[in-house]
């Protein structure tokens, strides 16, 4: 590692209306290193990347490249300075050939315009440098796998003489062999002196590839660490903002509720799975129990929930509901089987912003009844009155458009929509994210209340304390696979879960080359 950083960001702050997305964040990137940016959702990772690539203007702070202070007015400026980005969704032109994509904007020009022969030769040379010599530059980009496309995108960055390469979640849709291939290219580039900024939610991959880590939390800088000096448990602690000691002090409070283990089984799945989304899993839900799903972002929590509801179509496994074998392949089918699913993506998959609160509340029930049997006005009024009051939705005028409500109240109204369908199984994906403390407590209370009434609740949250506090059982996920199931009790705490995640090493998934052995922390 050379002495001076190629990129130095000092005291960066960016505000959006009402939110401070970045608050005095420092970040240094040295030539010849792979540096991973870590943080939970909303920590500010992508905002920082967008500041560095010139997408966002910074409000405060200084960015310097090679020691010179720069002010990027747009992405073109950043590319000019040698900062190239490969996004999660490959942004290449799938209708062009591989070679054209690699050389786009840098075609070799001859006397009669572009010299395609020379262009493709140049492309081949670049590809060969990255060990992709087997690719035919004249083949269409669409004809190669997503992983290969990602590597082509990196080759393209090389043509632009990038000295800084930003890889934003490049591995999220790759299988383990493809990840290994990507990593070998990354190592080669690193050894050539390219500085690589890497983002991934897969802890094993982070430990396999990165030299250093910078952790962000809630838009603030937590620290910069050498990967070898920070074990997984401490890293998770820093990401979610609880020191290991603090985690230990939080005890489970659900033991007192004493859910009866002999309750009737409502839902039973065996080998339910979907390729590329979540490995096959077994799950059993009993009447009146709260099952928490714990795991880091991207661990497969949401994917699991979506399969149960039918939001995604499973490609393996059997499902029994109340002892009857059924197929739940669409949300409508899920709803008919009395399953309700509240998505974590409240804005895009939950509420319908331009409909009124009233219409949002009855949409689920109405969809279940079908279009031809409209809910009588009286019944609509009953549902609206009941849930507006019971859940404390404010303002209490149901004829307002949903978009005018605060996040917490939107969430409550959304919960009302699902409760109105009278579900046996209620799946809540991050129901408390981004809402204020008061609304949060009300929703948590509602969950326990529902369980007491006999609903089987699946509760998903990034906040482990919350999961531990509410759940009777906790299912732990990591890297798109169910890794453990813990029956909650006095001895179970958020720390227990962190330890399970940190200790579980998915060897078959993780590239082994530079994997750091996870050291056990004395807890």
């Amino acid at each position: 590692m050379s002495q001076s950083p190629i990129v130095e960001m000092k005291d960066i702050s960016i505000s959006f209306p009402g939110v401070k997305a970045l608050d005095g964040v420092d970040f240094r990137l040295f030539p010849g290193e792979v540096h991973t940016l870590m943080g939970e959702n909303g920590a500010g990772k992508s905002t920082l990347i967008k500041a560095l690539t010139g997408v966002y203007r910074i409000d405060e702070g200084v960015i310097s490249v090679d020691g010179d202070v720069v002010q990027f007015q747009g992405t073109a400026d950043a590319q000019e300075a040698g900062v190239s980005t490969v996004y999660q969704e490959v942004n290449l032109c799938s209708n062009l050939s591989i070679g054209e994509n690699v050389m786009l904007g840098h075609e070799v020009r001859g006397r009669f315009g572009v010299n395609w022969k020379a262009t493709h030769e140049a492309a081949t040379k670049t590809l060969r440098k990255l060990g992709l010599g087997h690719l035919d530059p004249r083949a269409s980009l669409a004809s190669i796998s997503l992983a290969m496309q990602q590597l082509v995108a990196i080759s393209r960055a090389m043509v632009t003489q990038a000295r800084v390469l930003i890889l934003d979640e490049p591995t999220s849709s790759l299988d383990s062999n493809e990840v290994e291939q990507l990593f070998s290219v990354m190592r080669q580039l690193r050894d050539e002196g390219v500085a690589i900024l890497f983002v991934s939610h897969f802890l094993e991959q982070v430990y396999a590839i990165s030299d250093r880590l910078t952790v962000l939390r809630n838009g603030q800088f937590v620290g910069e660490y050498a990967t070898g000096e920070l074990d997984q448990a401490s890293l998770i602690g820093k990401m979610i903002g609880k020191e290991i000691t603090a985690l230990r002090s939080l005890d489970s409070q659900s033991a007192a509720r004493g859910h009866r283990q002999d309750a009737e089984t409502v839902y039973l799945a065996r080998g339910l799975g979907r390729k590329g989304s979540i490995e096959p899993f077994d799950i059993e839900l009993k009447r009146g129990e709260v099952v928490g799903l714990a795991g880091l972002l991207g661990s497969g929590r949401t994917e699991l929930a979506r399969l149960i509801y039918g939001a995604d179509r499973p490609d393996s496994g059997d499902v029994e509901i109340h002892g009857h074998k059924v197929a739940v392949h669409t949300p409508a089918a899920g709803l008919r089987r009395r399953i309700a699913f509240s998505s974590e993506n409240r804005r895009d998959e939950g509420i319908i912003r331009d409909l009124t609160v009233r219409e949002n509340l009855v949409l689920g029930v109405q969809a279940k009844r079908g279009w031809a049997r409209p809910l009588p006005r009286k019944q609509v009024d009953e549902i609206v009155d009941k849930y507006m009051v019971e859940l404390g939705v404010r303002p209490s005028d149901p004829n307002r458009a949903m978009r005018n409500l605060s996040g917490g109240n939107q969430q409550k109204a959304l919960l009302g929509r699902w409760l109105a369908t009278k579900p046996d199984i209620l799946i809540l994906d991050e129901p408390t994210r981004g809402i204020d403390v008061g609304a949060k407590a009300e929703i948590q209370e509602q969950v326990l209340q529902l369980a007491a009434e006999g609903v089987a609740v699946i509760f998903i949250s990034s906040e482990l304390e919350e999961v531990v506090r509410l759940s009777d059982r906790i299912i732990v996920l990591k890297d798109h696979r169910m890794i453990a199931e813990v029956t909650n009790g006095p001895e179970v705490s958020a720390e227990t879960i962190v330890k399970i995640i940190a200790d579980h090493s998915t060897e078959q998934n993780a590239p082994v080359a530079r994997a750091h052995k996870t050291k056990e922390v004395a807890l």
């Binding site: 959006f16 209306p17 997408v55 966002y56 509801y309 939001a311 949300p331 409508a332 899920g334 709803l335 699913f341 998505s343 895009d348 998959e349 939950g350 509420i351 319908i352 912003r353 331009d354 409909l355 219409e359 949409l363 689920g364 109405q366 969809a367 279940k368 009844r369 079908g370 279009w371 031809a372 049997r373 409209p374 809910l375 929509r417 369908t421």
Partner: protein, 355 residues
């Protein structure tokens, strides 16, 4: 419905805020223009021979009938954030089917009914095919219905063997040229169908669901709304209504003109919907507005002819009227006018919102 209308002033405010209010204003203005050219333009007479009202207004109503049909079908499709470019071609298919059938059938009421039924069935099937292309195959609505728009005229040509088939059937002709209570049957039928469709979508949950999938398909799907079924239904309804429009258009002359019947009427329908205050982005829709829009288009067509605007300048004239109308309706222009009125020049505050 809304409760901020206090007294007549509030009511007026409420009316002005309706998007189609300006459509009504435009109709009135056009009629006034015609009136200045011919003071007797609005006069309505009584024809004892067939017991009917006669006059320019009656002609406008008659001409509006087919446009009303395709406009409300288009309105529903647009609400799902789709578009149906094939309405004009479905009209010519329906016309071809009915004329070809009637040319061989006896001149009886039963024959007319059979022709009507057959034409509407074929139209609904064409609409259904559009729906399948959009919802099952997953093609973009623009492309799917563009294909049908181009194919439709070809299909009609095949049906008639390339001829502009004419037929004779008095019952069928009565649909377009008859009178009931002094008004053209064709307009009464169109009005009845508009009311029927309005009741269908607003009294059932169809309207809510159409708006839901138009606003946010993902959220609507997760809420359990059957998007596929709804799209099939909506495109079929649009096809069916276009068939009705086709029957109206051909029955008046009892001839299907393969190259002219329904030609470019998809544009009129889209305009009528937009004038009526339904956004092309989908979501909230307004059938009354679409009907007003259809009446405006018909008025405009008649005005152009009446004023003697040369046929080569007709599209331009039409365009000017519609552009002005759309400008008046656009929020940005309204805001601009309002701020000019109140504070002279206030800097636009919308631009500062984060990228």
């Amino acid at each position: 419905m809304s409760d901020n209308g206090t007294g007549p002033a509030g009511f007026l405010k409420e009316v002005v805020r309706r998007q189609y209010f300006w459509g009504v204003v435009a109709i009135v203005l056009l009629l006034l223009v015609n009136l200045t050219k011919d003071p007797s333009y609005l006069s309505i007479g009584w024809n004892d021979a067939n017991g009917a009202l006669v006059g320019n207004l009656v002609d406008i109503l008659r001409a509006a009938a087919p446009i009303m049909m395709i406009s409300i079908g288009m309105c529903l499709v647009i609400a799902t954030s789709g578009i149906d470019l094939s309405v004009g071609s479905v009209m010519v298919i329906a016309g071809a089917v009915s004329m070809q059938f009637l040319a061989a059938a006896p001149n009886t009421f039963a024959g007319a009914m059979a022709a009507l039924g057959l034409a509407l069935l074929v139209s609904a099937v064409v609409g259904l095919v559009n729906g399948i292309l959009v919802s099952v195959v997953g093609l973009q609505p623009f492309i799917s219905t563009l294909i049908m728009m181009l194919a439709g005229r070809g299909i009609a040509k095949v049906i008639t063997g390339g001829q502009n088939t004419s037929a004779v059937n008095d019952s069928f002709r009565w649909i377009a040229n008859g009178y009931l209570f002094g008004l053209p049957v064709v307009f009464l039928l169109a009005l009845a169908i508009v009311v029927l469709v309005g009741l269908l979508v607003r009294r059932s949950a169809l309207g809510l669901m159409i708006e839901a999938i138009g606003m946010d398909p993902q959220a609507a799907r997760l809420a359990g709304v059957n998007r596929r079924g709804l799209l099939l239904a909506v495109y079929s309804i649009s096809g069916l209504l276009s068939g009705v429009a086709g029957v109206f258009a051909t029955a008046s002359v009892m001839t299907v003109d393969i190259s002219r019947t329904g030609y470019q009427l998809e544009m009129d329908a889209i305009l009528a919907v937009v004038i009526g205050g339904t956004s092309l982005a989908g979501g909230k829709f307004n059938l009354t507005g679409a009907t007003v829009g259809a009446l405006l288009i018909a008025t405009l067509d008649k005005t152009v002819v009446f004023l003697g605007v040369s046929s080569s300048a007709t599209p331009a004239f039409k365009a000017v009227v519609i552009v002005v109308l759309c400008l008046i309706q656009s929020d940005r222009v309204r805001q601009l006018l309002r701020s000019r009125r109140t504070t002279g020049s206030r800097p636009s505050r919308k631009e500062a919102v984060a990228a």
